[in-house]
C-alpha cells in the first residue's frame, strides 16, 4: 500500500499535535462568530420566528374567536326562541284557565239568577194562590148566599126547575171574569 507507506514514512509535523497559534486563532474566530452570530443575530431571528408563530396563531385565534362569537349568538337566539315559545304556551294556558274560570263564574251566576227567578215565581204563585183562595172563599160565600136566596125566592116546584136554576147559576158563574186559575 503506497498510501499507507507514505503516510507512515512521511516526515513533517505530527498532525495530532495542535499548533499553539492555531488554538489562539481558532478561539478568537469562534469567539467572534459566537458574539456576532450567536449573541446578536440569533436572538433577532428567534424573535422574528416567535412573532411569526404568534401571527399565525393569532390568525387562528381570531378565527376561533369569530366562530365562538357566532356560536354564542346562535345559542342566544335559540334561547330566546325557546323562551318565546314557552311564554306563548304559558299565555295560552293562562287564557284557557281564565276562560274556564269565566265560564264557570257565568254558569254559577246564571244558575243563581235562575234559582232566584224560580223562587220569585214560586212566591208569586203562592201569593196569587193565597189571594185566589181568599177571594174564592168570599165569592163562594156570596154566591152560596145568592144561590140560596134564588132557590128560596123561586118556587121550588119540581126537580126540573131546580136543575135549570143550578145550570143558569153555573152559566153565570162561567160568564164572570176569571179570578181563580
Amino acid at each position: 500500500m503506497t498510501l499507507a507507506a507514505t503516510l507512515l514514512a512521511a516526515e513533517g509535523e505530527n498532525p495530532l499535535i495542535p499548533h499553539a497559534y492555531e488554538l489562539v486563532v481558532g478561539s478568537f474566530a469562534f469567539l467572534v462568530v459566537f458574539l456576532v452570530v450567536g449573541k446578536i443575530l440569533t436572538p433577532r431571528i428567534q424573535k422574528t420566528l416567535a412573532e411569526r408563530t404568534e401571527a399565525i396563531e393569532g390568525g387562528i385565534k381570531k378565527a376561533e374567536d369569530a366562530q365562538a362569537e357566532a356560536q354564542r349568538t346562535l345559542e342566544q337566539y335559540r334561547a330566546q326562541l325557546a323562551e318565546a315559545r314557552q311564554e306563548a304556551a304559558r299565555l295560552r294556558e293562562e287564557a284557557r284557565e281564565q276562560g274556564a274560570a269565566i265560564k264557570a263564574e257565568l254558569r254559577e251566576e246564571a244558575q243563581t239568577e235562575a234559582r232566584r227567578i224560580i223562587e220569585a215565581a214560586h212566591a208569586q204563585i203562592e201569593a196569587d194562590r193565597q189571594q185566589a183562595i181568599t177571594q174564592l172563599r168570599g165569592e163562594i160565600g156570596r154566591l152560596s148566599t145568592e144561590l140560596a136566596s134564588r132557590i128560596v125566592g123561586e118556587s121550588l116546584e119540581d126537580e126540573a126547575r131546580q136543575r135549570r136554576i143550578v145550570d143558569r147559576f153555573l152559566e153565570e158563574l162561567e160568564g164572570r171574569p176569571e179570578t181563580v186559575r
Binding site: 503506497t2 498510501l3 507514505t6 503516510l7 514514512a9 512521511a10 516526515e11 513533517g12 509535523e13 498532525p15 495530532l16 499535535i17 495542535p18 499548533h19 499553539a20 497559534y21 492555531e22 488554538l23 486563532v25 481558532g26 478561539s27 474566530a29 469562534f30 467572534v32 462568530v33 459566537f34 456576532v36 452570530v37 450567536g38 449573541k39 443575530l41 440569533t42 436572538p43 433577532r44 431571528i45 428567534q46 424573535k47 422574528t48 420566528l49 412573532e51 411569526r52 401571527a55
Partner: protein, 262 residues
C-alpha cells in the same frame, strides 16, 4: 512487478505533509499560514452571511433570510430540541455558531483555490471540543452539585455496590476523557482523511494525464479524475455530516449535564 507498478514508478502519493503550510509569504510571521488565514476568512464569511440573513429579519422572509432560517430551523429541530427540550432556545446561539462555523470551515475543503478543510488541523476541533467540555462540566456541577455530578455520572443508583467498583472507572474515563477526545478527533480525522483521499485521487489524475501521460497510465488517470469528482461530492456530504454530528454531540453533552436523568 506488474506493468501498472512500472508506470507508477515515479508517482508519489500525497501524504500528511500536504497539511503542512509555510508562512504565506517570505518574511511573514510563522503563524500566518494558509489554514490560519482561512480560519479567519471563514469566521468573517460566516458572520457576514449571518448578518445579511438575520440582521434585519422580516416576518415574511426572502432571499438570504430564507436560507438562514433553513439552517436555523435545521439546527433547532434536529439538534437542539431533541436533546435540550425546553432549554433548546437558550442554547441556540452557541449551537448555531458552532454549526455554521464548522460547516463553512469544512466546506472550504472542496471550494476551489481554498481547498483546505480548516478542521483538518486538529487545533480547531480542539477549540470547539474544549469549549463544549468546559460548558458540560460547568453545567453538570452547577445543576447537580459537585458531588452529585460525579455521583450521577459514576454511581447511578439501582445496582449492587460491587458492580460500581468495576463500572465506575469506565464511566469516568468514558465521560470525562474519551468523550471530549473523540468529539474533537472525529471531526479532525474525517476532514483529514477525506482531504487526503481527495488529494490522492486528484494527484493520480493530474500525474497520469498531464505530468507523465503514458498510454498505459491514461486509464489510471481517468479513474483518478472520475474518482476525484465522485469523492468531491462525497466529501461535501461528509463535511456537512460532521458539522451536524459535532453540533449534535455538543447538544447531547449539554443536555446530559442539564438533565442527568434524561
Amino acid at each position: 512487478m506488474t506493468p501498472l507498478m512500472l508506470v507508477a514508478e515515479d508517482f508519489t502519493a500525497p501524504g500528511p505533509s500536504i497539511f503542512d503550510f509555510p508562512p504565506l509569504y517570505e518574511g511573514a510571521p510563522s503563524w500566518l499560514t494558509k489554514p490560519v488565514l482561512m480560519a479567519i476568512f471563514g469566521a468573517i464569511v460566516v458572520t457576514a452571511l449571518a448578518w445579511s440573513a438575520f440582521a434585519n429579519p422580516k416576518l415574511v422572509p426572502r432571499g438570504m433570510q430564507n436560507v438562514g432560517e433553513m439552517g436555523y430551523q435545521f439546527v433547532r429541530d434536529q439538534v437542539a430540541r431533541p436533546f435540550l427540550g425546553k432549554d433548546a432556545e437558550r442554547w441556540m446561539p452557541l449551537l448555531i455558531s458552532l454549526f455554521f462555523l464548522i460547516l463553512l470551515w469544512n466546506l472550504f475543503g472542496v471550494i476551489p483555490l481554498i481547498q483546505i478543510p480548516v478542521a483538518s488541523h486538529i487545533a480547531f476541533p480542539i477549540v470547539f471540543a474544549v469549549t463544549i467540555y468546559v460548558i458540560k462540566v460547568y453545567l453538570g456541577i452547577k445543576h447537580q452539585g459537585l458531588g452529585g455530578y460525579f455521583k450521577n455520572m459514576m454511581f447511578p443508583p439501582g445496582l449492587p455496590k460491587a458492580i460500581y467498583v468495576l463500572l465506575a472507572p469506565i464511566e469516568f474515563l468514558s465521560n470525562l476523557i474519551i468523550a471530549p477526545f473523540t468529539h474533537a478527533v472525529r471531526l479532525f480525522a474525517n476532514m483529514f482523511a477525506g482531504h487526503l483521499i481527495l488529494a490522492f485521487f486528484s494527484a493520480v489524475g493530474f500525474w497520469f494525464l498531464f505530468e507523465k501521460p503514458t498510454l498505459l497510465g491514461a486509464g489510471l488517470g481517468v479513474v483518478g479524475a472520475i474518482m476525484t469528482i465522485a469523492m468531491t461530492g462525497f466529501e461535501m456530504f461528509i463535511e456537512f455530516l460532521q458539522a451536524f454530528l459535532f453540533t449534535l454531540l455538543a447538544a447531547m453533552y449539554i443536555g446530559g449535564s442539564l438533565h442527568p436523568d434524561h
